[in-house]
């Protein structure tokens, strides 16, 4: 997949655990894991907004485009 999810990197920078973020943004850890592993097909604006708010970052910090 050419869109990479750098959620792990941001979590490390903010010193936050996955379950904490999941709790804060109101999704299950299983769904967060799908997002982190790049298995997700799409991400809702509301989820992205919540992640950015919780991690105090921009969407570009989480998502990255990589040419095949």
């Amino acid at each position: 997949m050419s869109i990479l999810v750098n959620l792990n990197l941001m979590l490390e920078k903010r010193n936050m655990k996955s379950y904490e973020l999941a709790e804060r943004i109101g999704i299950t850890t299983a769904n967060l894991s799908i997002l982190k592993t790049g298995k997700a097909k799409a991400i809702r604006f509301s989820t992205l907004e919540a992640i950015c708010q919780s991690l105090d970052c921009q969407p570009g910090d989480i998502l990255e485009f990589e040419a095949d």
């Binding site: 999704i27 967060l32 997700a40 097909k41 799409a42 991400i43």
Partner: protein, 168 residues
């Protein structure tokens, strides 16, 4: 899902009362006609004064048995897919492949039975008969195509469902 329960009960009833006894009966009939050709009189063709060779009638009967088996198998698959609906798994791969199989079988058997009926009237009764009305053959072809369309729709729905599940 009350309607599904009614449908499943009806399909089960038809399966146990009509289809299951039909399997040994057709098997017995298709073997027995080679020993006693008089059994073919039930078609009422011989009594109408039409002279046909017994082998010809046997081939036609065998083809009818094959078509009947196809219908029974299609019904069996349809009955099985209803179980998946009851388990709330309507987009399972089995349902999609079964509907495709049912559709293909019904279309082929519908076309074949139409050709068979046309040739039977032409060669045996010397009648040129074309049926364009609400005949069973056309109805079977339409039903087969409906199942094929349904299979395609379920395939699209399965992808949409997967995408929805993987949208975070």
């Amino acid at each position: 899902m009350r309607k599904l329960v009614i449908l499943k009960s009806l399909v089960d009833f038809i399966w146990y009362v009509t289809c299951l006894p039909l399997i040994p009966l057709t098997l017995f009939f298709s073997v027995y006609m080679f020993f006693d050709p008089d059994i073919l009189k039930i078609f009422n063709v011989l009594e109408e004064g039409v002279i046909i060779t017994p082998w010809y009638l046997k081939v036609v009967t065998l083809l009818i048995v094959v078509l009947l088996s196809v219908f029974v198998y299609s019904f069996y698959l349809f009955r099985k897919t209803l179980r998946y609906f009851q388990q709330v798994k309507p987009f399972d791969e089995f349902v999609i492949t079964s509907y495709k199989k049912i559709g293909n079988m019904l279309v082929v058997s519908g076309v074949l039975s139409a050709i068979l009926s046309f040739l039977f009237h032409l060669l045996v009764k010397s009648q040129l008969q074309l049926q364009f009305g609400f005949t069973s053959n056309l109805f079977i072809i339409c039903l087969g195509l409906f199942f094929l369309v349904l299979s395609e729709l379920f395939k699209i729905a399965k992808v949409a469902k997967e995408e929805n599940q993987l949208t975070i």
